[in-house]
Amino acid sequence: MDHEVIMAGFGGQGIMLIGTLLTYAGKEEGKAVSWLPSYGPEMRGGTANCAVCVSDDSIASPVVVEPTAAVVMNRPSYEKFKNMVQPGGALIVNSSLVPDEEIRGDIEVYRIPANDVARELGSDRVANMVCLGALLGAREIVKVETVISVLRKVISQRHHSLLPLNEEALWRGYRLVKA
């Protein structure tokens, strides 16, 4: 399978981190991977996004124009990407920040109140993990366990105390979709 994923949100929401985690996890599982961030000052206070490709064979182009799945963590990202997802693709929407509305019927839409869930878990900051978990519930790109195993490599040592919280958030997101 070729997965071409876009993840998007506010600058501070940890979008790049979940993109990186997905990429590392894909590599860990022996797949071909690429990660392409949006970059530069538009990230300053604005929105950020990254494109992650995970493929069983090889990746021709790291550019994702019509994603097979997208995670949108805020409203501007939702507006920007909701129509780009391929028919049959998956769209994970952070419903804590994106109001409900009528949307195209040819894709699977998962509304996850990521910020609310995260706050419940104890920290707004793991909303990104909730979303990543939800994505993996919707599409089996990599195993949640693999993400958890690369988490400790990617997250800097001094934040390792937060690992359990992150794991918990991943699983919560995953289960919200799977349930």
Binding site: F10, G12, G45, N74, R75, L97
Partner: protein, 71 residues
């Protein structure tokens, strides 16, 4: 009610600098996000009375969010 200190909330970025200079400590952040994704600063209707119109917050605010009047 006539307000002494008015916030253009959709311009606010929650930097909290106004809060840090307000001698009366009446500025707070809202729990809701504005469309920029920030929790905007405001002074509650009750606290408007406590404002002494010193305008320190307005002079400090990097986003020209605040306007101040005196009675």
């Amino acid at each position: 009610m006539e307000k002494r200190v008015v916030f253009k909330e959709d311009h606010c970025k929650s930097c909290e600098l106004c809060i840090s200079v307000c001698p009366k400590k009446i500025i707070r952040l809202r729990t809701e996000l504005n469309r920029l994704g920030y929790h905007p600063a405001y002074v509650s209707d009750e606290d408007q009375e406590k404002c002494i119109s010193c305008a320190l917050c307005a002079r400090m605010c990097p986003d020209a969010v605040i306007q101040v009047w005196r009675p």
